[in-house]
Amino acid sequence: MSISLRQLLTLGHLPGHSVLAGASGLSAPVHAVVPGTTVRALKEPAEGRLVVFAAGQLPLDDPNADLAIRFCASSGIVGLITTPPKHPVALSTLRLADKYGIALITAGSVDQAATVTALEADVRAPEVTGAHRLTAVVRQLSPHSSDAPQVIAVLRSELRLPLALLDSEGHRVEGDESVDWEQLTSRLKDVLDSSHPTERVHDAPDGAQLILHPVVLPTSQRAGLWFAAVVEADNSAMVDPVRHCLAIGAWGFTAHLATRSLMTEVEGRQRALLLGEILDNAESPSRQTVERATVLGWRLSGWHTVVHLATAGGTLSVAPAGFAADLEAALAAAGIVAPVVERPDGWMLWVTEEIALDSADQERLARIVRQALLSIESEHDGLRMCAGVGLPAQGSIGLGNSLREARKASLLARANQTMAAVERTDPIGLKRMLLGWYSYGPARDIAAEVLEPLRAADPTGELNRTLGCFLDYESSIATTAAVLGVHRNTVLHRLTKIRTLLGVDLSDPNDRLAAHLATRAEQLPQEPEPDHT
């Protein structure tokens, strides 16, 4: 049994190595690993040898590198390992290595003797390495520290091949981006969604093999997630070790999921119930209520400032599981300790202080919440969140009052086109005036009528969104293009179309304001705000 150069490199004896050129040589079998001496010595016949040079012995940025490759080509050497050169390697050297399939490998620090000894051992007995890996994976996994990134990291450090955690439609949840997993699993929908999921090995392009291992939670039959790995054709000796390691990884990950989902679910439900009791009996909360709140670290006296959060009509209408915990963690990282509790219409969080937060503090809170939402949005494609910050109010009654303010503010935020919009309750009332206007039925009808030509021309709403965005961002085409994720020419084109369709002059202040109000009213939820006292 022989081992290929590629397999040899996956064994971890050359940390941080890179293959500069001659990648086709990686498939060649390695028969022996020997220390290098001089360039001329490479002329000696040495079929299937890998030559390891000591630091500085073979500078690849020197003309001699070209001679070395040429000698390797005639002597049968499959690859050269050396330290990275000081200066860039000439294109001619790289082209030559590619032409003759001589792998040029550099690693930061090559201890010549130790590297030769270690690689040579693997060349002589490749099958021993599989068993070592399995024990290493088992040792590193535990139910408390086996979330998806960690499991993937452990598997990758041992197996050194493309790995991912996929959902039941083949989308990558975690792991290597270099592989098009969706494409690879496109014909395996039935397998991924099977009612009796089991480990599978499938053929992949170029003779490679795709190994899939299901993650099945005790509560369900189907596999919600799969561990997947790709083993290249010339690495087929790895198939069994990979299968075993994936199985261990999946086991560890399942245990971790089960523990975690139980804890968050129980705690979240308790907190929602308790908050409901506090809000319902704000005038005289019972002793038990106060005690349970204290256990959770909530203080009912003092000044509360409430933030109300909701999803804001992105393509993803449901917030991801664990949202509350993620948000709490993000706020804690910014120095704000606040409970996040799920509510029928979103979430609420609040901070409690001895004295009321002043305007600057409220602004800071709004900013931190926005940062937290932005980072959560960025992790979930299509998710749009919005939030409103209420005015500070005192005692358990104040908690409810601040919440009402916060909900109104979040409604305003929702009309905004920005990502992670956060609005503060505006004590002066300008925004309240707008809120009144937005929710005034006839005004909405007018808005609908004004924008009707856009809807008629473009049922997808792209034009409408472009206009709203353009007006929100002070008529900046560049920003609009960036927010919508389209080319600036596209924005220009759409604006021309919008001008024609609406017959408005966006440089006229009156036309502009009308169009802006109409887009804002249009973007509000259809059901009337229930709490307009």
Binding site: N64, R70, H87, L91
Partner: protein
């Protein structure tokens, strides 16, 4: 009697650019200087060494410093007289002729200008018949003739006389002096007598350079095989025709150095690398050294036929790579030791010219 007239100057400049092997400095200003001097003083007589008093002083002349400085602060035309006077006085001999230190780049033209101004003949010879970066890399250095006494003259007429027994010391001191003289100075080193030229210098270099330039300028670069006949006459070859695919250039201790990679125009898997240090020094194709210093590697533009210096070459240039053998006096083991690949830090053996293809 051979004379250099205004009409010969462009031929001389072109020959000097090819012999510069990518270095030697731009010839534009020295060309103008030579034309002006000849226009003013009349044609310059080219003397064979045997025509001159064997005991007479010969002034091997060139410039020292950064050739780029010439584009801003070029010479007054009066420096040569100062150089000659200092050496004549120091050595107690009368000057009988001016000789190019190298018939390459700007140094091929300055002696013609000097000869015109001094009313002396220019000697048909030089010390290397190409360009080299170090003062000791001359045939005279090879023959253990000291570079000293050496004279440097700046545009203001300031002179520095350097005497010393070690050529490397003289080189170090002269570079320091040239830098202080505003980066460029007229330099006269290795003062010899006319009688020494035949034995220790390279006679015939000036007419060789003139003829090479005349023939190159006569070529119609658009024609295929247009270089064949010319190169046959000069024992040279076109070793590659390709496009510059990549340029690596960096600052070395003695100036810029680096590597060009050329991709063959008609055979995509043929790749040549040319390594340079001010001049092109080594050409390697497919891992096989084809031409090595001291033999000459010169890149000429495929369409215009113009020789290209290393500092102008860029991605996309289409070039012929011309190879010419160095003068036979460099092909001795001592010659290769002084100016072969190892003298420039390449761990390569010298490849006798024409032994690989």
């Amino acid at each position: 009697m051979l004379e250099i007239t205004v009409d010969d100057v462009d031929d001389l400049a072109t020959g000097a650019a090819v012999l510069g092997s990518g270095g030697g400095g731009d010839t534009y200003i020295p060309t103008l200087m030579a034309v002006e001097a000849i226009t003013h003083h009349g044609p310059v007589r080219v003397a064979h060494p045997a025509e001159l008093d064997p005991e007479g002083l010969i002034l091997p002349l060139g410039a020292m410093g950064a050739p780029i400085a010439l584009v801003e602060k070029f010479f007054s035309g009066r420096e040569y007289q100062a150089a000659l006077s200092v050496l004549e006085q120091h050595l107690g001999r009368a000057g009988v002729g001016v000789m190019p230190s190298e018939v390459a780049g700007s140094a091929a033209l300055l002696p013609v200008t000097a000869a015109a101004a001094l009313g002396l003949p220019v000697v048909d010879g030089d010390t290397m018949r190409r360009a080299f970066p170090k003062l000791e890399m001359t045939q005279l250095g090879l023959a253990r003739i000291p570079a000293s006494p050496m004279v440097l003259v700046d545009v203001k007429g300031n002179t520095v006389l350097i005497t010393g027994s070690d050529n490397e010391d003289v080189e170090r001191l002269s570079r320091a002096a040239a830098a202080e003289m505003g980066m460029i100075a007229i330099a006269a080193a290795y003062p010899i007598t006319a009688g020494q030229i035949d034995e220790f210098a390279i006679p015939g270099s000036l007419t060789y350079c003139l003829e090479l330039g005349r023939r190159i300028r006569g070529i119609d670069p658009g024609q295929p095989d247009s270089y064949v006949e010319l190169l046959e006459d000069f024992d040279g070859r076109v070793i590659f025709t390709g496009k510059v695919g990549e340029v690596h250039r960096r600052n070395g201790r003695r100036g810029p150095l680096g590597t060009f990679t050329l991709e063959h125009l008609h055979a995509p898997d043929r790749v040549m690398r040319v390594d340079f240090q001010s001049e092109n020094l080594v050409a390697i194709e497919d891992g096989v050294p084809i031409v090595t210093v001291p033999d000459l590697i010169s890149l000429v533009d495929l369409e215009t036929g113009n020789p290209l210096s290393t500092d102008l070459l860029d991605y996309g240039h289409r070039v012929h790579v011309l190879a010419l053998p160095a003068h036979e006096r460099w092909h001795t083991s001592d010659g290769i030791a002084l100016v072969g690949p190892r003298a420039f830090g390449y761990d390569l053996d010298y490849v006798p010219f024409g032994t690989t293809s």
